[in-house]
Chain length 127, copies 2
Amino acid sequence: MTSGLTPPAAGAILNHMVQYSPELDSAFGALADPTRRGILERLGRSDAAISELAEEFEMTLTGVKKHVSVLEAAALVTTEKIGRVRRCRLGPLLLDHEAAWIAAYRRMLEDRLNRLGDFLERTKEDQ
Amino acid sequence: MTSGLTPPAAGAILNHMVQYSPELDSAFGALADPTRRGILERLGRSDAAISELAEEFEMTLTGVKKHVSVLEAAALVTTEKIGRVRRCRLGPLLLDHEAAWIAAYRRMLEDRLNRLGDFLERTKEDQ
């Protein structure tokens, strides 16, 4: 099925980044929760122990640990056990690839809307 | 517990966007899967029927429908039933807020690294 709207598109930029990127999977997955985004924002102000996060977010230690381990798996947070206390800080993930993916998606969408506009323009002229 | 690293930070920018945003939850959640990112890239080239997506992604109709409904709930895809065929196209979500959230996070992280650098610098001078 072909339409006047299917030339080779800017999607090629997305194409090779789109599939099979465990980093994108884990980073976007980690950001898909308000508490996890809240923990990142909190750690942006200062490092914190799991117990401090539990108090501030009014959650159980187990609940906080679960969220932190998701963030840790995505390299958004690192933790270190000092004595009996596990301290959390922001991890090394700069979200470069995630920012690039979203930017490419936005360009693609814009491109698609432009092509749709051109198509409608041509259709109008043809009539 | 205070350190020399906890002045009021750029995190304030993130603070109000961070929590309780169902849009961020659903958008990031939708992007956390390689097949769903692949479907978006595919729809960036042209609209497609569910059955076309199933064929191209070598998935069952049920599998594709599940992914499409996650994308649809996030407003990344819209679908329309024309006769017996459900056609999918890119939805209206421009990922503005998601791009802004990631940009704010990156600024916050940079800010935090700078403050850490300043702190280490001062510590060195003190010795």
